[in-house]
């Protein structure tokens, strides 16, 4: 019997459902200190069992480190729910760990992964964008790059220089800029268009390609981007691959990241980028597996 995954976004730090008795909270080494992760999830939800895990990214797994999330599940350890605080995790690692949980539970009829999202800095300060293959938990190889045609979804809340460098490196066949809209109090969407004027003009991005998503509604962002990614043609001799470069605020960022995870897309981010460093929990992303 097949199962499906439903993604739900909960705003704020108040959890609207109870944790099950056999839920576990995990920390992900080397990005998180077990004691801090245990304390943070303990404050958020009443989860009594805590299990240290290791990051699924091969370079981050070293002898002596705890097993990654998929090993925990495949070794017969089947908690009904897994709780994770995204604090300190690089974006690519978070995406790949979530993807690995999805893979590990694909034969299960039930299960839950809850990821707490913290506010981040006002802007990320990335240096160089790298295409991150989420399912393989590694950068895209040269051969893979040459075999695909990229459709790029850059968040225009990003720095113009960073996006310009990403565009040059990626050489996308099409660009669907993601514009935060309705406007927030201090940010106007027109300003983000003007800021990326050179990129939009030089890549001949049509105005109709703009994707408007509300910054305060991550569920809408996830739904819109997932629908767009799912519509990309994949059966031609040059299958299109959706590449997401998410933008702040962090709850929106994770919605964009998750749309890439769920549609087998990829990210283009700075590998050191970790936008979940704030002290306040802004929300929770819940992935529920159900028949």
């Amino acid at each position: 019997m097949a199962s499906e995954i439903v993604v739900w976004f909960v705003s704020g730090a108040k959890i609207p459902f109870n944790a099950s008795a056999d839920d576990i909270a995990i920390s992900v080494a080397p990005h998180q200190e077990p004691s801090a992760a245990k304390r943070s999830i303990g404050e958020l939800a009443h989860v009594s069992r805590f299990v240290p895990a290791g990051c699924v990214v091969s370079g981050h797994t070293q002898p002596g480190r705890p097993p990654p999330i998929d090993d925990l599940i495949s070794k017969g350890f089947t908690p009904s729910g897994v709780w994770l605080d995204a604090f300190g995790m690089p974006a690519g690692c978070l995406a790949s760990n979530i993807a690995r949980w999805i893979q590990a539970t694909q034969n299960h009829l039930a299960g839950m992964l809850a990821v707490a999202i913290r506010g981040g800095p006002a802007r990320t300060t990335p240096r160089e964008g790298v295409v991150w293959r989420i399912d393989a938990a590694r950068p895209l190889s040269r051969d893979e790059r040459e075999a695909k045609s990229f459709i790029w979804y850059p968040a225009l809340s990003r720095d113009a220089t960073f996006l310009a460098k990403c565009a040059d490196a990626l050489n996308p066949v099409d660009i669907f800029p993601v514009v935060a809209f309705p406007d927030q109090q201090s940010v106007r969407s027109d300003e983000s268009l003007v800021q990326h004027h050179e990129l939009l003009q030089s890549y001949r991005v049509r105005t109709e390609r703009m994707i408007y998503i509300p910054a305060d509604k991550p569920n809408v962002a996830f739904s819109v981007l997932s629908r767009s990614l799912a519509a990309l043609p994949r059966s031609s001799s040059a299958p299109r691959e959706g590449i997401i470069t998410p933008g702040l605020p962090s709850f929106l960022y994770v919605a964009e990241l998750l749309s890439a995870v769920m549609s087998s897309g990829a990210l283009m981010v700075d590998l050191e980028e970790s936008p979940f460093e704030g002290s306040e929990i802004t929300g929770l992303v819940v992935l529920v597996r159900r028949p």
């Binding site: 459902f17 729910g81 309705p182 027109d190 003007v194 004027h197 003009q201 105005t207 998503i213 159900r290």
Partner: protein, 354 residues
């Protein structure tokens, strides 16, 4: 001055544009010219009432020529604050409004299971869909992209039927095959001053809301439905005015609870018209003084006087806002009127004829 030879297309366009402006004594930087041309191409030139081939650039030069030379620099402050909503943005607002409706429903007392994440998601989804299917969406204007709103809503929530949607609030509910409903959402494109929706005139409450309550009186009495006002765009002036008016309004018996207001996009008073961060109009700013000076060229009518005139925008909304379909009269009259040979930047098509 020959400028059109020897440059790349964009460079040439910038040169020509700057030169046209310089001819009327307005000197703008290369960067400002590029920004304006970029926004013109992406947004302003898609203004529906423009004639085929007409562009913002040529309109701007003509519009600036309305002003005395010494006032043109101040007039450019208005241009710098233009807020243009194109078709994609309006669709996006319509889609976001549906989610605001969903948030309203989910914020109320749904019978949601909290035993586990799975049961929570299962029950909140089913309860939301059930509540939505008992909701009416009523268009309060003819430009709320109602077809788009309905199709988008039906795609996301297949349980919604034709009877959940009413094309116009003045339609008698008895003439429509409505679904059973407990909530009514009044969809409006724009509320710049809120006076079209609710205002007091000579001790009598007028506007769309009293008209709706009268037309839907029997339905409201029978259904006991809660009513929400959901404008896609609402100014801060309108928000404040409506809050005060709703407090003073003596609700008709048919309306059992006070109506809720859920704007999707809030727009403040334009910065060039305000000195308190967009909360209210300051009639001493340079642009306000410009509105005073050229007011003799404008012509009020019985409809604009309902909002106290348009000197600072209908209802003193102080906006510099344009929608791709039309320019609301809540925006500064300087940009939209065409009286006394005034050449408007965004000519307005009046809803009400004298």
């Amino acid at each position: 001055m020959p400028t059109a030879i020897g440059f790349a297309p964009e460079e040439r366009e910038v040169k020509v544009f700057r030169n046209d402006l310089r001819d009327i004594g307005v000197d703008i930087s290369d960067g400002t010219a590029r920004t304006l041309l970029f926004l013109a191409e992406r947004k302003f030139n898609r203004y529906d009432p423009y004639a085929p081939g007409e562009t913002f650039q040529q309109r701007l030069v003509e519009w600036l020529s309305n002003f005395e030379a010494a006032d043109r620099k101040t007039a450019m402050e208005i241009v710098a604050e233009l807020r243009f909503f194109n078709q994609s943005e309006m669709r996006s607002l319509a889609a976001a409004t549906l989610y605001d409706v969903v948030n309203v429903i989910q914020g109320e007392d749904l019978a949601v299971s909290r035993a586990s994440a799975a049961s929570f998601v299962e029950t909140i989804q089913s309860q939301t869909e059930a509540a939505l299917s008992k909701s009416l969406f009523v268009a309060m204007a003819d430009d709320v992209m109602f077809d788009f709103f309905r199709r988008n809503a039906q795609r996301l929530f297949p349980g919604l039927l034709r009877g959940n949607f009413v094309e116009y609030y003045k339609l008698s509910p008895e003439s429509i095959d409505l679904v059973e409903h407990s909530r009514i959402f009044l969809l409006d494109q724009f509320s710049g001053s809120s006076r079209s929706f609710l205002r007091k005139e000579e001790d009598e409450w007028k506007g769309k809301l009293p008209t709706f309550c009268e037309t839907w009186k029997q339905d409201l009495l029978e259904s006991g439905a809660k009513v929400y006002y959901a404008p896609y765009i609402m100014s801060t002036v309108a928000q404040r005015a409506l809050s005060g008016n709703l407090g003073a309004w003596i609700r008709p018996e048919a309306l059992r609870t006070q109506i809720g207001v859920i704007p999707t996009q809030i727009v403040p008073v334009a910065g060039c018209m305000s000195s308190d961060g967009g909360v209210s109009v300051d009639d001493t700013t340079q642009v306000s003084l410009l509105c005073d000076k050229y007011y003799v060229r404008f012509k009020e009518n019985v409809h604009t006087m309902v909002g106290g005139g348009c000197k600072h925008g209908f209802g003193a909304a102080g906006l510099v806002l344009v929608m791709y379909t039309n320019c609301p009269n809540d925006s500064l009259y300087l940009i939209w009127h065409g009286y006394n040979d005034w050449k408007p930047l965004f000519p307005r098509v009046e809803h009400h004829r004298e």
